[in-house]
Structure formats: C-alpha cells, structure tokens
C-alpha cells in the first residue's frame, strides 16, 4: 500500500508536473489567505496558563487596584534643576496630553499628585503643582514641600533633582502598544529640547516585539542572501537554488497562513504571533531547506550516474521518500511535544510548526520533483557532471571515520562530556530588560531610570487584613522599611505612608507624629478627614473599597533573574518573622511573574526535549524495525542537545523565552540528519553492499547534503550582529546547532555504525 502510494506520487510528478505545481500553489495560496488574520501579541502574560496561581494573584490585583504595569518617562537636562517654571510648564502640558489618551488610566507626576498641608488647624489636600505657570512664591513653596517629604520627591524627581518623572498607568485590557506609541510621539513632540528616557516593563513589552521583529527581518535578508550564495557555490545551478527556495517560501506561507486561519476560526490567543514566535520562520526555513537540499543533491548524483532526468527523479524519490517522510514526521512530533509544556503559546508554536513541516514535506515530495522534471537539464552542465568542493571534503571525513572509528567516537564522546560540564552553569534570564546590551538606547534609558529615578521593575505585596488596624499598618510600614533597606529597591508606597503623613498633618505638622497612630479610631478618623477634602479615588491603587485589602508597591532596579529568587526569599522570610496571624500577604508584580516564567521555561525546555527525544526514538525504532537503529537515531541529537546547553552554560548565553525554543532546531535538524544517514545505511545493507564499504558509501551519499544543509544555514550567523541579545543568540545558536548536529551525525553516528557494522549488516541480511 505504502509502495503503491509512493509510486503514484512519483508518477504524478513525472507525468503531470504542471497539474501538481498548480494544485500546490493554489492550496498554499488558500492557506496564505489566512495571513491577514495573524495577530501580533506583545503580552508576555499570555504565556502563563490561566490557572497558574501567580497569574491569578496578579489578575486579582489588577482587578482591585488597577494595572501594576507602568510606563516611566523621565525628562530634564543633566545638571540643571528640573524645578524651573519652564520645565514644570512643559511637564504640565505633556501630562495633560497623556491623560487625554483613551487607554491611559492614571498619570502620576508632579503635575497630578496631591499634597497634604497643615496650617493652624487647617488640613488642606491640594494639587502639588497648582497650575501650569507657577509664580516664584508657588515654586518656593513647592520646593519646600518636596524637601519636607523626601519619599514623595523620590517618586517624582531624579536623585539629583534634574529630571522629572512621569509614571503612566494604563487601563486594564487596553491597547498598550497603541498607548505606548502615542506617549512616545507626545514625548518627542512636546518635550523637545530635553533629554527624554522611556522605560518600564509595559514600555519594553510594547516596544520589544516590534523592534525585535524588525531587526530579525532586516538581518534575515542577509542570512538568506548568504544561504543562497553558499547553495549556489555548491549546487552551481540557479534553477536548483530557486527550486529549493520556492519550497521554503511556500512552506512559510502555508505555516503562517495556518496560524492566521486558526486564530480567525477559533479565536485562540495561543496561536498569536508573540516574541517567542520570532524564531519560527528561521526554524522552518532550516528544516524545509534541508529536505530540498537532500532531494536536489540526490537528484544531481543520480542524474550524473544515470544520464536521464526522469530516471534520476524516480530513483532519488524512491530512495528519499521514506527518509523525508520520516524526518518530517519525527520533526513534527518533536514540535508537537511542545503541547505538553505549561507555556500557553508553545501549544500554538508546536502545532503550527508541525503543520509547516508537514506542508514542507508535501511540497518536497511532489512539488519539488515536478519542478525538477519541468526543467530542461543540461546533463553536461558542471552542476551535474562534476562533484563540488564539499563533496571532496566529505569524502575525506568519511575516510577518517572508516579508518579510525574508535578514535573519532572517543574524541566525539570527550567533546560531549566536556560540553556536559557546562550544563550546571546554564542560567535562565527572563527579564527582558537584559535583552539589550549596554550602549543601546533602550538599555541606556533603563539604566538611567534605574540609577537616577525610581527604577522600573516592581514587586507588589497584597495584604489581606484590616487596613484600619494599627497593628497591620505597622507591619506594612516595617515591611516597607525592610524593602527600602535593600540597595535594589528605590522606593515603596502603601496606604501606611499616607496614614503617617496625615497623622503628622493632623498633629500640627509635628514630624514626631509621622508614625502609624496607636488606635484604630484614630486611623479611621484620618480616613474620614481625607474623605472630606480629597478624592476617594486617590487611594484606589493602595487600598480596596472596604479597607480589607491593601497593596504595598516596591519599585526596584532591574535585576537579573538569578537575583530575583534570593530577593523574594528574603521578603518572604521577613514577612514570616513579622507574624502572619493578622497579616496575610501574597507577592506579585513583574519580579514574581518573571520568576514564574523562569520555572515555566525550565519545565518547558525539559518536557519538550525529553518528550521529543523519546517520541523520535519510538518512531525510528518502529520505522526501522530495530531498537538499535532507534538508539542510533537519537544519539547525535542527544549529544548535540547536551553540547548546546553546555555551550550556553560556558559561553554565558542565558536560557530565555527565545533561546529555550532553539533546542527545537537541534532536535528537528539533528534527527533529520540522523534519519537520512540511517536510511541510506539500511538501503545499502538491503542492496547487499559489503559491510566494509557501507559507511564510505553512506558518507558519500548523505554526508554532502548534510554538510551543505548545515553550511548554508551558517548564514544565520548574520543575526549575531543584532543589537538585541536574543536575536544574537538565535544567530549564534543556529550556527552552533548546525555544527553540532552535522558533525555529530558524521562523526558520532558514523563511527558508531562503523564500529557496529558487523552486527548491523549481518542482522539486516
């Protein structure tokens, strides 16, 4: 049945090439109609499963206290006081314009905050900056107030007093990207003449996906150009390169169109195109290109041998149909294994990649042979008549493997063991601020906001307890003092701060009373007093409506993920020591979410790698009908995975949202190389080639396309010059993956099969 199907497919390509080509293009175009439905997603929170406890807490805080993700804008002139009428007026205009953006919920700045004053028994809640243009008296008064309230000053001004801080809190579920764009536009237009720095997780999550995608697209052009040049140098035929590329392009259209259709039909956000999906086109390009290269090089060898195009196509496809099916199946399964991971978007990633790989298989199997068939090949052309440079190189490696298999295997194993030493040093980094190397605009702005302003990372402590109880408020105050003692914490705020300030104000501005009052009745009186002259919404981000929940917000410098755990442990320890009978707390904020993402990425990487290797082993065992072949098939890719992570550990490349997925390239490509090698080996065994000659012949047949595939993808090394670290890592790891998987196959697998040749050949016979 399978043979009949194979023959039928080959005959379709040979007898009706135009029909096959038109049908393939039509179906791809149909899929391509889904492209407009692709949704670009910048919300990192969508990665986290809905039932995740940390996400639930995060959402409950959003629901009660509003968004905790913010955009920070600092503007001023270095070394020049920001408290000048002209600067304050500019800030006033900017803030009013930002407030008018529909997606903005609240703006915190000198132009929007309140002050609480006491004057001869008079409590007054008024605007910190009463109007756009301040009189000299008002300016003096403002300076004096900020001197008196350093906690407030640190939130709205730089340490040196030369920059003003504007913090924008968005509405929940608003269009953050559009809002960020508008704020940036306003900043550029209205704050001309000032140094302006943007920052905050919301800013980064809104901007980074766009920047990274733009950067990848720019560098991809170079990568593809290099790929084409290398293929041209080796295949020495423009039409052949064009045919390989057409398979790649149609596969990409098919996969991305599929994503769009799924979103359109199901509405699932798991199929949105997020920053981690940026690697999908590169991975599919690599895998789809691999299939094409194997078929084209096999065809050229057969054409050289048989001097007949139809015969060459028939023979090539007869030999490669099974391995190409198998490589596609195993690679698709490797990606499908991602559906078992806890990260939401990996499901869409895995399924879409599996679809793209299947589409590439279909195109390689019927579309590509039809194209080969249509071309009027000149059998005397150099591309068919002579071996390329790399074929000679591969012959040399083949000789080494055949002559010294033990040495080659031993050296390979030592390299893998050395690589394994780096495994323990792999670090996970999910803080997207660290995606930028020092010297880039974004990183400089983040560093400025960290060093000079409030910092842009946050931790929220949600407190369940009586917000009018002095005991609870004192614990909140103590926790804030603890947090502020940490060098990475720039400032904290909670309702306890407001209570202390009101207490002082009521007690005739006596600093000795800037403490939590000793009775509940006094706290309640202060709230009542405020309600008489302040807006009740003023406290909405600090305490809930019935005073049963409060929020402590700590603003921190950006810290590496590795420092987040100890920091959080310290906070939890301090809370435990405070006593939790009347003081139930839950931590949330970006720092907690990052830590959660770290665990999810680690688990996802572990699950996807383990499941895919096991599945590939089982599939190859079944297809090749032998346990030993199953084990040999996963040998090079397992070694490459170890080497990859070991290399990351040694080179200091962190495992992130993006790099975690690149292990899929290793598995996807590694298994392809191994399967081609094993298939060809079995083919020669079946043909009765003597055991002593098989390895050399297999090397000759598969070594070259493997090397060519690996080499052509070296073009992705161009990504290493990107300004964005994850894009650099994609480039670096692509190069590494290509080297490790190709060399692994041609050394470890080849030497292992050579050493086991007696057993493998005898058993097959």
């Amino acid at each position: 049945m399978a043979t009949k199907m194979k023959t039928w497919l080959i005959e379709q390509a040979l007898d009706h090439p135009w029909r096959v080509i038109i049908i393939c293009i039509l179906f791809t175009a149909l899929l391509g109609l889904g492209l407009p439905y692709i949704v670009i997603d910048n919300d990192f929170m969508n990665m986290i499963p809905e039932d995740n406890p940390s996400l639930k807490v995060w959402n409950s805080v959003l629901d009660e206290f509003g968004s905790t993700e913010r955009i920070f804008i600092a503007f001023g002139r270095k070394g020049e006081s920001a408290l000048k009428p002209e600067t304050l007026a500019k800030g006033w205009d900017f803030v009013r314009a930002v407030e008018r953006i529909p997606e903005v919920d609240e703006v915190f700045s000198i132009a929007t905050m309140n002050r609480i004053d006491s004057d001869d028994g008079f409590m007054n809640v008024s605007d910190l900056q009463p109007e756009r243009n301040l009189t000299p008296e008002q300016l003096t008064d403002l300076k004096a107030y900020l001197d008196k309230t350093p906690d407030m000053a640190v939130r709205i001004m730089s340490r040196q007093g030369d920059f003003l801080n504007v913090v924008v809190q968005p509405k929940v579920n608003g269009d953050d990207v559009a809002m960020t764009e508008q704020i940036m536009e306003l900043g550029k237009k209205m704050l001309k003449g000032y140094d302006v720095h943007f920052g905050g997780q919301l800013y980064l999550t809104s901007r980074i996906p766009i920047l990274i995608q733009t950067d990848i697209m720019r560098l991809m052009r170079f990568a593809i150009l290099i790929l084409v040049i290398i293929m041209l140098l080796n295949l020495r035929s423009f039409p052949a390169v064009g045919m390989a590329l057409s398979v790649v392009i149609l596969s990409l259209i098919g996969m991305l169109g599929f994503m769009g259709w799924v979103v359109h039909i199901t509405g699932s956000n798991k199929f949105y195109f997020a920053v981690l999906n940026a690697s999908m086109p590169i991975i599919l390009l690599t895998i789809a290109n691999g299939d094409g290269i194997h078929i084209i090089t096999k065809f050229m060898r057969e054409a050289r041998k048989r001097q007949d195009v139809r015969d060459a196509i028939r023979s090539s496809m007869n030999t490669l149909m099974l391995p190409v099916l198998l490589t596609s199946l195993t690679t698709a399964v490797a990606f499908l294994s991602m559906i078992f991971t806890p990260i939401n978007q990996f499901l869409g990633y895995g399924i879409s990649m599996a679809f793209g790989i299947s589409w590439a298989w279909l195109l390689s199997t019927i579309f590509l042979p039809s194209l080969l068939n249509l071309k009027k090949w000149d059998l005397e052309h150099v591309s068919l008549a002579e071996k390329s440079i790399f074929e000679g190189l591969v012959d040399h490696i083949g000789n080494q493997v055949v002559n010294h298999p033990k040495r080659v295997l031993s050296i390979g194993m030592v390299v893998v063991l050395l690589g394994a030493c780096g495994l323990g040093h792999v670090k996970v980094e999910v803080n997207i601020a660290s995606f930028f190397s020092k010297g880039t605009d974004i990183r400089d702005s983040i560093d400025f906001l960290d060093q000079e302003m409030t910092g842009t990372m946050d931790m929220e402590v949600k407190v369940d307890g009586d917000m009018k109880s002095p005991a609870v408020l004192k614990k909140m105050d103590a926790l804030q003092t603890y947090l502020e003692s940490k060098p990475v914490v720039r400032t904290t705020i909670s309702i306890a701060d407001i209570i202390k300030l009101m207490h002082r104000t009521v007690m005739d501005d006596d600093p000795a009373y800037e403490v939590i009052p000793d009775t509940r009745a006094k706290v309640n009186n202060l709230f009542t007093l405020y309600s008489m002259s302040g807006d009740p919404d003023d406290f909405s981000s600090l305490v809930d409506y019935d005073y049963s929940e409060g929020l402590i917000t700590a603003l921190l410098q950006n810290i590496p993920t590795s420092q987040m755990g100890p920091f959080i442990d310290g906070v939890n320890g301090f809370i435990h020591d405070l006593g939790t009978d009347d003081f139930k707390t839950t931590l949330t904020g970006m720092i907690i979410i990052f830590q959660e993402e770290m665990y999810l990425i680690l688990r996802s990487a572990f699950i996807s790698i383990s499941v895919s290797i096991v599945m590939i082993f089982l599939i190859t065992w079944v297809f090749f009908k032998r346990l030993l072949w199953g084990l040999l098939s996963v040998l090079p890719l397992s070694a490459a995975v170890i080497l990859n992570f070991g290399f990351m550990g040694i080179a200091g490349i962190e495992l992130s949202h993006v790099t975690a997925l690149l292990s899929s390239i290793i598995i996807g490509v590694g298994v392809d190389f191994a399967i081609h090698y094993v298939s060809q080996y079995r083919h020669y065994v079946d043909k009765g080639v003597p055991a002593e000659e098989i390895s050399r012949d297999v090397m000759g047949d598969t070594g070259y396309p493997i090397m060519l595939n690996a080499l052509s993808n070296m073009g992705f090394g161009a990504l290493m010059v990107s300004a964005f670290l994850p894009v650099r890592y994609i480039g670096g790891l692509m190069v590494f993956a290509m080297i490790s998987t190709s060399i692994g196959t041609l050394t470890l697998l080849a030497s292992a099969t050579e050493l086991l040749k007696g057993r493998l050949a005898r058993k097959e016979q």
Binding site: F122, M123, N124, P517, R520, N524, T528, L529, S531
Partner: protein, 252 residues
C-alpha cells in the same frame, strides 16, 4: 436656583404653568420655592463602586436657611460614630468647614477650595452641595417631556463665563406641577455626561421634601444613594447650634 442642598432641605410648591415661560422664569420659580426655616433628618448614604462593593454611613443632619448652615453627626458605622461636621456658607467667600475628630479630640478645618472634590467619598462634590445662584447661569428651555410619569420642563443651565465651575452645563428635568427637580444630568468641561441624578419627594405640610436621591457618576461607574428619614421641619433650631463646640455633642 438651588440644587442639592435645596433638594435636601425644602422646596415650596408652585402652582400654575405659564406656557410662555422662559427658561429663566422656570429657574426663578424653582429658586423661589418655599423652604423650611430649618430641617432635621437622618440620612443613610450608600456608596457603590464599579465592582459592586458598598460602603454605608448614617448621619444626623440639622440645617438652616436651605443649607447655608449645616451640622452633621456621624451615627454609623461604629468606626465613624462621633465624627461631626459643621459648614457655614459665607456669600462671596470660602465656606467655613470644620470636622471634629473624636479619637484625636481635635477640630480640624477643611479646605473648600477644590469645588470638584468629592464630599465624604460620595458622588457629590462641594460644588454640588453648594447653593447655585440664579444669576450665575443662563437658561434655555429645551423641551417638555415626562419623567417617571411626571410632566417636566427640560431646562439647560450653562454657567456664565466668569463663573468657576467643574461643569460645562446641566440639563434638568423640572416638575411642571411643583417645580421640583426630578432629574438632572451634569456635563464635564469636555461636554460629556459626568453625573446623573434622580430625586423622589414626599410632602410634609406645606413643604415638598426629598426622601430618596440617587446620584451616579457615569464616568467612574460609581453611585450614591441617599435616603432621608425622620424628617422634621421648622422645629425652631437656633443659629447658636452651628458652633464648633456643639460638634462634640452627639444629638439624642
């Protein structure tokens, strides 16, 4: 024309409807409605936020001259019991407002400079609570239509340019029968509806008094329900009551 305070503390009944009345004429009739010399009531105020959470207070209010002088004692919840508030309006000057904080045993003065600030966390601002002067607004009769079965004039009131207001205009539904304000929409400075109020009345002798008022801030999705109980009018309250020392004494 008077608004909330007027609504709180007594409105006279005007009879007869002149079809040729202008907007100003109608507003004048509302302004001239009969008010009690003094009014005492227990008020229950229920605040509801956008998530449906509520807070409630019960206060005892005594006022004179349509609210020009007013004393409020907090009766409930227990946390607030004993807190007391005194307001005396001074024409052409800031209102005098004081709060007694029993836990601190101190009286604190409160600023009335921000007209748009909320009063006691409710959806009523100080501007809403203050008498609106007839000649500070221009009036336009928009149409006539019934509201909840009551035939009404629909009047548009726009503050004159020299008047500092947090609203751009009000649209008010005034009962044709007794010139009480049945409903009112208040628009913010950008011309968008900010608050919607509806009022229900009861007759006490020669006065028509509010018994229920619902104010919704439609922009914040926050509402305030006021219920008036134990209404007493013209009981002979003396001006002497509205002194700071009386804040400390809870009424029986």
């Amino acid at each position: 024309m008077r608004r909330l305070i007027v609504l709180f503390f007594g409105l006279s009944i005007f009879s007869g409807i002149g079809w040729a009345q202008t907007g100003y004429d109608i507003a004048k009739k509302v302004d001239q409605r009969l008010e009690p010399a003094d009014l005492t009531a227990n008020l229950t105020m229920v605040l509801t936020n956008s998530k449906g959470k509520t807070r409630s207070n019960t206060i005892r209010s005594v006022s004179m001259k349509g609210g020009e002088k007013q004393m409020i004692w907090f009766l409930a919840p227990a946390d607030d019991k004993g807190v007391a508030f005194l307001k005396i309006e001074h024409p052409g000057a800031d209102d005098e407002m004081r709060l007694w904080l029993p836990a601190f045993k101190k009286v604190r003065r409160i600023s009335s400079s921000k007209k748009g600030d909320s009063f006691m966390g409710s959806d009523m601002s100080y501007e809403d609570m203050t008498n609106r002067e007839l000649d500070e607004y221009t009036y336009k009769l928009l149409r006539e239509e019934p509201v909840n079965g009551v035939d009404c004039f629909v009047l548009e009131e726009t503050p004159k340019p020299e008047i500092e207001s947090t609203y751009s205009k009000h649209v008010t539904w005034i009962s044709k029968q007794d010139y009480t304000v049945v409903k009112e929409e208040s628009y913010d400075l950008s011309g968008v509806v900010k608050k919607v109020k509806t009022v229900e009345y009861v007759t006490r002798g020669k006065y028509i008094l509010p018994v229920k008022m619902f104010v919704e801030d439609v922009q914040k999705n926050h509402s305030t329900l006021l219920k008036f109980e134990k209404l007493e009018v013209d009981t002979g309250v003396k001006a002497d009551l509205f002194r700071e020392r009386n804040l400390k004494r809870l009424p029986r």
